[in-house]
Subunit: 450 residues, 2 copies
């Protein structure tokens, strides 16, 4: 019987391999990984560069050795799959040993995503980095020590940009953050963006909003020395470009497997692609948005992990849906916590067929009289037709990330705003006001929906 073949050895791939082997230990699982790391903590890279994660090895969750010896997975590092023949159930693999083919019974494409490299002048200068792999994290980490930069530019105000601004700031360098849009963290909405911007400035970050970067200039040695934006050149000696990621969907596309409108691999609720016996999961694949019911592309770690696990189970014979996504995300920005879930943007909600109403309220994180209470700002969207909760964002100094989870739960269960406002949530003075801020927001929003 042909083995299960998995392309890519990170979160989705190794979750699937591990789950499959637990269910069907007698079957062979071959994982091809083109690099040398598997199952690594990509989200920890900014904290490694910041210095709060001390050891590089701490980012490696499970070693190749453990996968091979303890989990009995045929993991092959430095093996790149360069072609898929979906008729012949066969992949072509390049490795140091040459080019070979491998038959598969079922195939999982888990090729991940890559950092977008915009066509800036000077992208190839020394000192201009993206954060696309553990190796690149190590390069930036080491550069902070060996090159001792004085002024660092971060291009992109998404979550990687925000986390990297904090990471660089820890090294006592001047930090410039460039964002093309009017606000940082656009997917988190304007309230969050503005609060984060004020806080970044308070922390000494030089913010350049609505500023398109044209490129970089270098010194005689070919090392970056400046960032050019319009008529201005900023002196910088290290650059981190973090303007988003693109799915590694070319391998699937060239094999004739259907891609979605987002450019990622189209999948059904079990992670199946258009080709028989071929699945896709993780940062290369679409998933279904629980609010809209439509395909969406939100490449985040949990989505990859659980889809991989579910597909491992399905391939083992126990059909398991990969689960819908709510676009739930959280980011730390210095002393602020921000989080989001569902649809926050009214325009986006209208495009999805909803008639949205939103409110933004402020409420304390603890009882007002309890020491250390912090102000939370919550925006929540509801649909006037169905009264459903559509999404929310929260920003504040504590108790943000896990508060958004209650709203995420409401999205998964198609809860109305009124119902949410009557959930029996926890209260004790050190942890919450009597009405949790999520309840208060739902209560106010329900008043607008009545």
């Amino acid at each position: 019987m042909d083995p299960i073949v998995i392309v890519g050895g990170d979160a989705a791939g190794m979750s699937a391999a591990s789950k499959f082997k637990r269910e069907r230990p007698e079957r062979d699982v071959v994982v091809f990984e083109k690099g040398e790391y598997v199952s690594y903590a990509a989200c920890g890279m900014p904290y490694y560069i910041k210095g709060s994660v001390e050891e590089f090895d701490d980012l490696l969750q499970v070693s190749p050795k453990e996968f091979i010896e303890e989990r009995d997975i045929d993991l092959r590092l430095h093996h790149e799959v360069v072609g898929i023949d979906t008729d012949a159930y066969e992949v072509t693999v390049e490795s140091p040993a040459g080019t070979n083919t491998q038959s598969y019974g079922q195939l999982l494409i888990a090729t991940g995503a890559r950092a977008i490299e915009p066509p800036f002048d000077g992208m190839d200068l020394d000192g201009v980095h993206t954060l696309h792999s553990l190796d690149s994290a190590k390069t930036v980490h080491d550069a902070m020590e060996t090159e001792s930069p004085e002024s660092v530019a971060v291009v992109g105000g998404g979550y990687v940009g925000i986390e990297m601004a904090e990471a660089f700031d820890e090294h006592d360098v001047d930090v410039h953050l460039f964002e093309m849009l009017p606000h940082v963290l656009a997917p988190f909405g304007e309230t969050v963006g503005e609060k984060v911007e004020t806080h970044l400035r308070d922390e000494g970050v030089s913010l350049h909003l609505e500023t398109a970067v044209d490129g970089f200039v270098g010194d005689d040695s070919g090392h970056v020395s400046g960032l050019v934006a319009g008529d201005t050149t900023y002196d910088v000696d290290l650059v981190l470009v973090g303007v988003g990621v693109a799915p590694n969907a070319e391998l699937a596309g060239e094999a004739g497997i259907e891609l979605g409108e987002t450019g990622a691999i189209a999948t059904d609720e079990f992670g199946r692609t258009s080709a028989p016996g071929v699945f896709a999961a993780g940062d290369c694949a679409e998933a279904r948005n629980v609010v809209t019911g439509d395909p969406d592309y939100v490449p985040l770690a949990l989505t990859a992990n659980r889809a991989g696990r579910a597909i491992g189970q399905t391939m083992a014979g126990d059909e398991t849906p990969v689960g819908d996504i709510a676009g739930t995300a959280a980011v730390k920005a210095f002393d602020l916590e921000v989080a989001r879930t569902g649809i926050i943007d009214e325009e986006e909600a209208r495009e999805a067929g909803f008639d949205p109403v939103s409110v933004t309220i402020s409420a304390p994180s603890r009882a007002h009289y309890y020491p250390g209470a912090q102000k939370l700002h919550i925006t929540m969207l509801g649909d006037t037709e169905t009264n459903r909760v559509l999404g929310a964002s929260i920003v504040g100094r504590e108790g943000v990330a896990k508060r958004i989870d209650t709203v995420a739960a409401a999205l998964h269960t198609e809860t109305t705003v009124q119902e949410l406002s009557y959930f029996d949530l926890s209260y004790a003075p050190p942890f919450s006001p009597t009405w949790d801020p999520v309840l208060t927001t739902a209560k106010v929003l329900a008043g607008k929906l009545d």
Copy 2:
């Protein structure tokens, strides 16, 4: 038209009064409060005694003046309702001015609960306290300063007992905690109880479990000097008895209004009692448990607030359910946070007609490599027949209270364990592992339900 009459000026009563007046400003609302405080933060009393809430007035949320002048509520302090004539739609009220009657159009009984005073010998000695009112909190607070006790006994290991042990410990006195049952915080389950016990001992509290208190002995001046439990007398010079509360349901009972099996006032989903036009809410009333669908008595602040508000709306003509309760609760115990929701006890689940399975797992509060990650211990119950989530408890040093809210949301929406395990919850290394511990627990429990 006869006014709306409300008996009791705390959370439920004043929430109802305020909501009704917002909806129907032209109608009269009379609130009779037998004491001098309204709308006070009873849950803050331990923190006032501890010293973390500095001003007594911080516990007063809205002043009588504000209710009267700004919200136009006819609030009468020092007025005690001593009888209800449900046929005549009339209450009898005693006040410094004498005894009078007052007709009502609709009536809300919001008489709250009182601290249980067990029949211990010596309950009336000086220095033996319960925490039944703001006045009693002030008495204990002042006694810590004027009497400078050296050894304090807390009788009862429920949440008030735990919070008071922490409060007393802050004053550098010897603290003895007595609990009849094998574990403290029984409604939170054994895992929570054991972790809290270890932590209390680490903090220097002398724990006396499975120890029935017989009473107290006093010195010549009539002040408590010892606590007697079996053959042992412990030297103590201040005692706080916190063994639970009982609903103030006598007024309703004597008026022929139906009480439930719990002893609290029976209500329907709109807070209506068995008497026409008479509602009950807060610590004197039952509410419906969202897991069992049966009447339950869990006197907590949020339940009182939201039921009061809903009844205010219903009395104003807009029928609004008071909302079901999940028994969600959170407590701080020194540096530990504990929380619960739903049914945690397997025996209790079986009595409610379920066939429960439970798991207890440990998982970190943050990514394993992120500094400060704390171990959380989560117990979750599921029903083998319906696969529904039945309840959960969590104990740990951070991120506990608001994590239980996700499970509470699952209870309100009758979510299955499998569905919960696929909720898209927030992840970022400072706030959670990739799979939030709630997801991991649900995943493991789902494995046992399959």
